[in-house]
């Protein structure tokens, strides 16, 4: 598109004008007049983040494969442009045709994290589309939400016409066919929504009635009409090898956060860490075969010109063809100057050997995610990583020349004590001691650097910890200080570094993650008070939310600090992520007893995901 929505003067007055001009290599060009459905796909964060998201690339490609649909992209304008669009009343536009989002048939928003909720309102507002679904008519785009946050969409239920629960590859065809009929006929929006609710995986929040008990908990969640399902079950791709995958992904001009070819080798995770929502809702674990991955790698590298390739999965070490695939990629690397990055690998002899081949050990740090400081607590969260494994991994790494180690922890996990918190410093110290014991003085180049960082634990829906209370604000801060104090008492403290997250953002994330519909008003008021880009510490301001809670006569602690009983009706109980509540309760009880559960490949835990009829549940009968 040669003509841009914004004038040169505006573009030159904002940071990184390239965010708003589209025309990236592999951008799909169609004539909007020649399609039946104009679909605006939004990632409600800044361009560089949104362009890094694999799911969006997959759906962009999949939707544009359809001749009747033109899928275009839209991202949140950075606050500098946000101000200008408001002042000059310029409607938010898509990158492809640079045309107003409000003229589209469908606005699909992928919701990857809770802290982007106000950005969703920003996108609707700047598009000059009514923020509340009830105020939108057939003249406005149908607003669809999807992604991990759609597993509990209740805090944003009032802003969406419908939510898509599960993987986009499955139910878009029937939904788009229905939309075409709706558009061409005299069907009312309400009729459309009722019909959409009959499609697998489609949740229409306005068709459900929620009633509350006097204490604020949920009494009932019920469909208002006959054909509306009482529970909406997620849809997933079972033939994962045949799932659509973009052979010509968009290549941004601007350096994106993830700016490389990404091979999705596996979806789901066999490990079953009890805090991890992704590990639960993406079940069952499915992998792609090695030949497909090799072919994709070659084709995508050729079609993009990228020099970098990365593997995507929740736990690459559990991919069965990892050795073969990496061997192939290393050969490619030598022939064609391709750099390989390998995230989420378990540190062992194999992975260290591979990493030595693909990275400069002097520059790159090794990452471990023990998540908790003591073995007791690691058993509670079902993190199958022992202190010995970590220390052995670190020793081998030191012998191999690495001297920078990163450690990821969580603070505020269920049953956590001061001793567990101190364990973070003690484990870091132990790893630094291992360095001095392993590497003789004359072989030390530079100095060992151990960086431990702690995020506050946020309980998520559809995890065994969905009933767990969060700590209060003060307790979080105190616990982080306690860890910091312990670090300061360590002998090797000069080699150790400890950082931790902002507690207010984590608390709010906790509110939204397990929130109910009553929060829609709070999010709206915070937005009207100026909240956008809440995931960015430089823009986040807790006082906006404090005022919003007060205005709505609500106390956020109801959502965070309360321990829920397993009998309580949870705001997401009408959503079925394919894992049974019995399994989650069992795991919650095992956690409290410190009992470890085996992974999906060693012993089936009967989570319920086998009902989808694919993936690891059927790999081999164990």
């Amino acid at each position: 598109m040669e003509t841009l929505a914004l004038s040169d003067e505006i573009l030159m007055s904002v940071e990184k004008p390239a965010r708003y001009i589209g025309n990236e290599y592999n951008m799909v060009v169609k004539d909007p007049e020649q399609v039946e459905i104009r679909y605006a796909f939004c990632f409600p964060d800044v361009y560089e983040i949104g362009m890094s998201h694999l799911g969006m690339q997959i759906l962009y490609d999949m939707l544009n494969q359809r001749e009747d649909t033109y899928c275009e992209r839209v991202y949140s304008p950075w606050p500098d442009l946000d101000r200008i669009l408001r002042d000059k009343k310029i409607p938010l536009f898509t990158l492809e045709t640079q045309s107003p989002v409000r003229d589209f048939d469908i606005l699909g928003i992928t919701i990857q994290y809770e802290m982007c909720y106000t950005n969703i309102l920003q996108v609707l507002d700047l598009s000059q589309i009514p923020i509340f679904a009830k105020d939108r008519t057939k003249e406005h785009p149908i607003v669809i939400g999807g992604g991990p946050c759609a597993y509990n969409p209740e805090p944003i239920a009032d802003f969406f016409d419908l939510f898509y629960i599960g993987e986009g590859e499955v139910s878009y065809p029937p939904l788009l066919e229905l939309y075409k009929t709706y558009k061409k006929s005299s069907m009312s929006k309400q009729e459309f929504l009722l019909k959409a609710a009959e499609i697998e995986g489609i949740y229409v929040p306005s068709l459900y009635e929620v009633t509350y008990n006097a204490d604020g908990t949920i009494e009932t969640i019920q469909p208002k009409y006959e054909n509306v399902p009482a529970k909406v079950k997620k849809v997933i791709v079972t033939d994962f090898n045949a799932a659509p995958y973009p052979m010509k992904p968009l290549v941004p001009m601007l350096r994106a956060t993830q700016d490389r070819v990404v091979l999705e080798i596996m979806r789901g995770c066999i490990r079953g860490c009890r805090f991890c929502q992704a590990g639960m809702v993406y079940r069952p674990t499915r992998q792609k075969d090695c030949e497909t991955m090799k072919k994709y790698a070659e084709t995508m590298l050729r079609n993009t010109g990228y020099e970098d390739i990365s593997l995507s999965s929740l736990s690459s070490s559990d991919y069965e063809y990892l050795e073969e695939l990496i061997k192939f990629l290393i050969e490619q690397m030598e022939e064609n100057h391709v750099n390989i990055s390998l995230p989420s690998l378990r540190i062992d002899a194999f992975s260290l050997d591979v990493m030595r081949k693909v990275q400069d050990v002097r520059k790159v740090s090794l990452t471990f995610a023990p998540e908790a400081g003591t073995q007791r607590l690691r058993d509670v969260i079902n993190k199958g990583l022992t202190e010995e494994m970590i220390v052995n991994g670190a020793r081998e790494a030191f012998q191999g020349g690495w001297n920078k180690v990163k450690l990821y922890f969580m603070l505020g996990l269920p049953t956590e004590t001061d001793e567990d918190a101190e364990g973070i410093a003690l484990l870091s110290e132990r790893i630094s001691e291992e360095y001095f014991a392993t590497v003789p003085k004359e072989e030390r180049v530079g100095s060992v650097q151990i960086t431990a960082s702690a995020a506050y634990f946020v309980p998520k829906p559809f995890t065994p910890f969905q009933w767990a209370p969060m700590l209060d604000r003060e307790a979080y801060v105190n616990r982080a200080y306690h860890v910091k104090d312990t670090f300061n008492r360590m002998l090797n403290k000069k080699r150790l570094k400890f950082t931790y997250h902002d507690q207010d953002i984590s608390i709010l994330e906790g509110v939204f993650a397990r929130g109910d519909r009553k929060l829609c008003g709070v999010i709206y008021d915070a937005y009207m008070d100026g909240a956008i880009f809440d995931a960015w510490t430089e823009f986040f301001d807790m006082s906006r939310y404090e005022r919003a809670f007060e205005k709505n006569n609500m106390d956020y602690k109801f959502y965070t600090e309360r321990e829920r009983s397993v009998d309580e009706i949870l705001p997401w109980d009408h959503i079925d992520a394919g894992i049974s509540k019995d399994f989650l309760i069992r795991e919650w009880e095992n956690a409290q007893k410190g009992i470890v559960s085996q992974n999906c490949r060693s012993f089936c835990q009967g989570c319920g995901a086998a009902s989808f009829g694919g993936g690891v549940c059927f790999e081999s009968k164990n």
Binding site: S7, E9, N23, Y25, R255, R302, G305, E307, D360
Partner: protein
């Protein structure tokens, strides 16, 4: 072998920074499967060197970079091949083999020429007559003293010798200005001085500025396009 490549940067790509243009070409050269030489080491990179960065907002049909290639086919074939997997707004138009002793694209530049037109916004508050009169006025001056900002301080400089040619015809200003590491005159500064002298408020975004060509000295005192340092093949 050393090669020099001429490219265009037009349309929306005027908002792509120099760094991003370099990253674009690194990928585009790989898509075209050109046999570019790489450095050794853990993160090998293509051996490329770009001429001076162009400010954001300008379009150009006379941009250059040099590269080291292991092998080439023909100029015609390579231009065709490259553009098949290139952005329509960042295409190559020529490629030549440089003699071993050629200076790099960055260091040899001595001048550039430009076409400046009023855009829609500019047409609203500037008349063509004023612009034409301004060009005439400036070309008639013996010296044009301007305060120029350098990295450290402001210095009073005569920019008249840096204006090699300035003409107004067909509603366009044609400018031929010295460029490069010494005596670089930006077309924006010319416009600013023009406006000041004609009592027109200066706003850069009233104008479209388009670079036509980048020049070097041929050793015999002539300014010739950078591409002439090499030979087509």
């Amino acid at each position: 072998m050393k090669v020099r490549i001429k490219y265009t940067k037009t349309g929306p790509m005027r908002f792509i920074s120099h760094l991003d243009v370099m990253r674009y070409f690194q990928k585009a050269l790989r898509r075209a499967e050109f046999d570019v030489r790489y450095t050794q080491g853990f993160s090998p990179h293509q051996i490329l060197s770009f001429a001076a960065p162009m400010p954001l907002g300008l379009t150009s049909e006379g941009e250059y970079f040099d590269g080291e290639f292991n092998s080439v086919t023909t100029t015609f074939d390579m231009v065709e091949t490259f553009n098949q997997t290139a952005s329509p707004y960042l295409k190559i138009t020529d490629i030549v083999i440089l003699p071993d002793n050629a200076g790099n694209a960055m260091s040899v530049v001595t001048a550039s020429d430009y076409i400046i037109t009023l855009n829609e916004e500019g047409n609203r508050h500037i008349t063509a007559d004023k612009l034409e009169a301004g060009v005439h006025f400036l070309t008639e001056q013996q010296e044009i003293m301007v305060m120029r900002k350098t990295k450290k301080k402001e210095v009073l400089t005569d920019i008249r010798p840096m204006i090699l040619k300035a003409e107004y015809s067909d509603n366009r200003i044609y400018l031929f200005l010295t460029a490069g590491s010494v005596n670089h005159l930006k077309p924006e500064l010319f416009l600013e001085v023009l406006c000041e002298n004609m009592d027109i408020p200066y706003n850069r975004w009233d104008y479209n500025i388009h670079r036509l060509e980048t020049y070097m000295d041929d050793g015999a005192g002539n300014r010739v396009p950078l591409i002439e340092a090499g030979r087509r093949f």
